[in-house]
Structures are given as structure tokens and as C-alpha cells.
């Protein structure tokens, strides 16, 4: 890969970071978004325990993974919607890089946000629920969580690519997150809601979470990880298709605010 291409990619990441930072200054994230993540994680751990669910450890693993979804399934839609509200999509269409590629690179700061929220939540909730040993084991599995963040981001961008033009990105992004809560075995074990299990197979996070639980329990985990990768690849392909569709539709119909 040429250094010039790497530089271009870096510029796209840079603009994504600058825009992310302008709308999410660190002091605002540190006082609002990150505490929210910690409390959300705590909420689901306590809910599971109080409701007589599978147990604190199970809930902690799931709730920690769930933290990844807010920035990657929901808030990541701000990447394409920025172009809608600023009216800059036509510039991406005229550019040398594919729109999907630009979106993906600009979305990288959200992955960073997801990992920061994950680490903070694991440490804080681990301490609050007397599960620090498990917390450290989860932290050691950061690469698996990063994979889940990436697959979630792919799904988030795929949903956003179709939803932004219909002003439905907030709705569908949140719907994706709540579907993950219900169908991915986050706090309710897989199998307890059979009619949702089939949906969960195609969602990000599910297989990654199964991999995390398998690793911690000392069971085989390779298949789960590969499945998570495969599901993520499908969502990534859908994201590419989605943005390509938007570009093609804009060129056919003359609308620059997404189809």
C-alpha cells in the first residue's frame, strides 16, 4: 500500500476525529457519555441479579459487551448524517475515494469511544459489584471486544446508509441496539426467547459474546469468533452496498440529501 494512500486514509480519519471532537469534547464525554455507559452496565447487571437471571457474572459479561453498541450502532449514524445536514454529500460523491470508505474511516473515532467506554465500565462495574477478577479477565479479552465493536460499527453504518435519507437513523440505530439487547443473549440467555434467537444469529455481538463466555469458561471459542467475523463481514458488505446505492440514487434522481 502506497504511503500516499495511507495519507489519504489518515486524512479521512482525521476529519472524522475533528468532527467527532467538535460535537463531543472530551470534557463533555467524560462528564456525560462515559458515566452513562458505566451506569448502563451497572443497571443491567443489577437487573439481571434482582430478577433472578442467570447470575452476576453472566450479566456482567453481557452488559460490558452491550456498552459497545451505543457508539457503534446508534451514534455512528452521525457520520453519514453530518453530510446530510451539512450538505456535503455531493463533495464525497465527487471525490476520489469511495463514499463507503470515507464513511468507514471517519467512523473510527467512534470505535475508540466504544473501547474507552468499555474499559471504564468493566473497571467501575467490576469494582461496584465485587467482580474485579472477572473484570481483569474481560479486559484481557479486549481484542475480542474490539472485533465486536467493529462488527457493530459495520451494522450501524449499514443501517444508517439506508436510514439517514428517511430521517430514520435515530429510530433504526436504537432499534438495532434494543434488538441486540433482546436477541443476542446479553442478559437473557440464548434459548429463552426462541423466536428471537433466529434474529440474533444475524446480529453483531452475539457470537462475539459467546466467544467471550466460552473463553472465560474454558470452552472452545474459535467457531464463535469466526461466526462473529462472518456476520460483521456481511454487515460491512451491506454498508458498502448501502452507500453505493445512495451515490447511484443521488446521481440518478438529483437529490443530494440521501435517498
Amino acid at each position: 500500500m502506497s504511503s500516499e494512500r495511507l495519507w489519504r486514509w489518515a486524512q479521512a480519519v482525521r476529519i472524522g476525529y475533528l468532527d467527532y471532537k467538535a460535537s463531543n469534547p472530551w470534557r463533555v464525554s467524560a462528564t456525560t457519555t462515559w458515566p452513562r455507559a458505566i451506569l448502563q452496565c451497572l443497571f443491567f447487571v443489577i437487573l439481571d441479579t434482582a430478577a433472578g437471571g442467570p447470575g452476576r457474572a453472566f450479566a456482567f459479561e453481557g452488559a460490558a459487551a452491550l456498552i459497545l453498541t451505543v457508539p457503534t450502532s446508534v451514534q455512528i449514524a452521525s457520520v453519514p448524517s453530518t453530510d446530510k445536514w451539512m450538505g456535503t454529500f455531493y463533495r464525497l460523491r465527487l471525490g476520489r475515494m469511495p463514499a463507503a470508505g470515507v464513511m468507514a474511516l471517519r467512523a473510527i473515532p467512534w470505535l475508540l469511544e466504544a473501547m474507552i467506554m468499555l474499559v471504564l465500565s468493566i473497571l467501575a462495574v467490576g469494582a461496584l459489584t465485587n467482580q474485579l477478577p472477572l473484570a481483569f479477565r474481560l479486559l484481557a479479552l479486549a481484542p475480542v471486544f474490539l472485533l465486536m465493536a467493529v462488527t457493530n460499527a459495520a451494522a450501524g453504518l449499514a443501517v444508517a446508509s439506508f436510514a439517514v435519507g428517511r430521517n430514520a437513523d435515530v429510530l433504526l440505530g436504537n432499534a438495532l441496539m434494543y434488538l441486540i439487547i433482546a436477541a443476542d443473549g446479553v442478559v437473557v440467555p440464548v434459548g429463552r426467547l426462541p423466536w428471537l434467537d433466529d434474529v440474533g444469529r444475524f446480529l453483531p455481538l452475539r457470537n462475539g459474546l459467546l466467544a467471550v463466555r466460552a473463553i472465560i469458561a474454558g470452552r472452545p471459542w474459535g467457531t464463535h469468533l469466526l461466526l462473529e467475523l462472518a456476520v460483521g463481514a456481511v454487515w460491512a458488505a451491506l454498508a458498502v452496498a448501502g452507500f453505493s446505492f445512495q451515490v447511484s440514487q443521488a446521481r440518478r434522481k438529483g437529490a443530494d440529501a440521501y435517498a
Binding site: 463531543n24 463533555v28 464525554s29 462528564t31 456525560t32 457519555t33 458515566p35 452513562r36 451506569l39 448502563q40 451497572l42 443497571f43 443489577i46 437487573l47 439481571d48 441479579t49 434482582a50 430478577a51 433472578g52 437471571g53 461496584l128 430521517n167 430514520a168 435515530v170 429510530l171 436504537n174 432499534a175 434494543y178 434488538l179 439487547i181 433482546a182 442478559v187 437473557v188 429463552r192 426467547l193
Partner: protein, 262 residues
């Protein structure tokens, strides 16, 4: 038309207007009043073993989810009413109009809260019916009183939060940040005993905690009137804070011109 009936007509007109605005932005209500309560209720009822899902448990869960959804709606719709007016450029007209902005704001909150309350209740009832989980409230009359108190308290909270949020650039982040602290501190779906003892005292100042306590008491036992009293007292306190916040925002707007005037 005397002053009283004039005020009522302003309230109703603004409520109607806000309902029309809400219908256009139905996506928010779909998330807050359908998806969120639907999934939370489903999860809460699926966590325990089937034998542990008693009518009492279901009723508690339904109440908790209702309150969670109501608070979420306040945070994401009511609290951002003035902020959105500002973004649209219509806040100036509201501020400088003949009608008192307080009336206009309360009217708008009436509209948005009514929509979210109605949709949430329909969602909860639909999920319960689909899962064939019955609920039971022994004191339906007091339940209605409690829900009315909740609604009125929500209006007051909405005025205060709208007045604070209008001056902030980071409304969505603020809304998000205030969700789970209240879910946890008010014990809406999780017991207060699960929280560290050092922070449990904070729940005394949250009216939703007492609302939950009162509403839960209408399920089987006799209504917890002291809890209802706490709701009223705290709401009165919130009203004072809301009035101060509102005055502050209007003063800043008129004196320093930091609100967009066209």
C-alpha cells in the same frame, strides 16, 4: 373570554400544536414509547424462571417500565422542546409573543407528555397481552391518582429541564447522562438495596422513586400515602427550581442576546 378560559385555550392550542409536531417526529416516540419499553419489559419478564413470574412481579415490572419510559420521554422530548425551537429559529417568536411563554411551554409539554404516556401504556398492555401475563391492581382509583401525580410532576420537570437544556449545545449528551442515574436511584426496575449504601440517600430527592413506591403500593397493599405526599412535596420543590431556571433563561435571552433572535 376571561383570563382563566383564555389561559386554558392557549394551553390546549399549544398542546395540539405540539402533538402535530410530535406526529412529524414520530421516530422518537417509536423508540422511547414502543421499542424501549417493549424490549425492557420483555427482558425483565424473561429473566426469571417461569414459575417466579407472579402477577405481583409482572405488575411491578410493568410499572417500572412505564416509569422508565416516561422519564426517557421527558429527557429526550420534553427537555429538548425549547432547544428545538431555538434550532428551528422559532424561539424568538415564542419569547416575544403576546402569550406568556410559560403557558406556551406548559401547553407544549402537555401535548408531548400526553402522547408519550398514551403510547407507552398501549405498548406495555400489548406486550403483556402477547406474553399472556396478567396484571393486577387492587386500588385502581389510587393508581389513577398516582398516574395523574406522575403526569403533573412530569410537566414541572419538563419546564425545568427545557429551561436548562435550551442554553446547552450538548442536549443529547445531557439527556443520555440523566437516564440511568434516575433509573437506578429511583429503583424503577432495580432494587435500591443493590446500590452502594453511600449513595442511596440520593433517591430521597427523586420524585420518581416515591411515585414508584406509591404506584407499587396500589398493587396489593394499601396505598402508601406518605409516598404520594413526597411526590407532591418534591414536585413543589422542582416547581421552584423550574421557575428559577425559566426566569434565568429568559433573562439571558433578553439581556445578553444569546438566544437567536431573528
Amino acid at each position: 373570554m376571561n383570563r382563566w378560559s383564555s389561559s386554558v385555550s392557549v394551553l390546549l392550542a399549544c398542546a395540539r400544536h405540539q402533538i402535530l409536531v410530535s406526529v412529524r417526529s414520530w421516530h422518537f416516540y417509536a423508540i422511547l414509547a414502543i421499542v424501549q419499553p417493549g424490549v425492557l419489559l420483555l427482558v425483565t419478564l424473561s429473566l426469571p424462571r417461569r414459575s417466579q413470574v407472579t402477577t405481583y412481579y409482572v405488575s411491578q415490572a410493568a410499572l417500572g417500565v412505564l416509569l422508565i419510559s416516561f422519564w426517557s420521554c421527558i429527557l429526550w422530548t420534553s427537555a429538548n422542546i425549547l432547544r428545538r425551537e431555538r434550532m428551528e429559529g422559532t424561539l424568538a417568536s415564542c419569547l416575544t409573543g403576546v402569550r406568556d411563554l410559560r403557558l406556551v411551554l406548559v401547553g407544549k409539554l402537555l401535548g408531548t407528555n400526553a402522547i408519550s404516556a398514551l403510547i407507552t401504556m398501549l405498548t406495555v398492555m400489548t406486550v403483556l397481552a402477547a406474553l399472556r401475563h396478567p396484571v393486577r391492581f387492587d386500588h385502581v382509583g389510587w393508581l389513577v391518582v398516582g398516574l395523574l401525580a406522575l403526569f403533573l410532576s412530569g410537566l414541572i420537570l419538563g419546564v425545568g429541564m427545557a429551561s436548562l437544556f435550551v442554553l446547552s449545545r450538548f442536549g443529547p449528551q445531557l439527556s443520555g447522562a440523566l437516564m440511568y442515574p434516575v433509573f437506578l436511584l429511583a429503583g424503577l426496575l432495580t432494587p435500591l438495596s443493590a446500590l452502594p449504601s453511600g449513595i442511596r440517600w440520593l433517591s430521597w430527592g427523586i420524585s420518581l422513586r416515591w411515585t414508584k413506591t406509591f404506584l407499587a403500593s396500589t398493587i396489593q397493599s394499601s396505598p402508601d400515602l406518605p409516598a404520594l405526599g413526597m411526590v407532591v412535596i418534591l414536585s413543589a420543590g422542582y416547581a421552584i427550581v423550574a421557575a428559577v431556571a425559566f426566569r434565568r433563561f429568559t433573562m439571558i435571552a433578553l439581556r445578553e442576546g444569546t438566544i437567536d433572535f431573528v
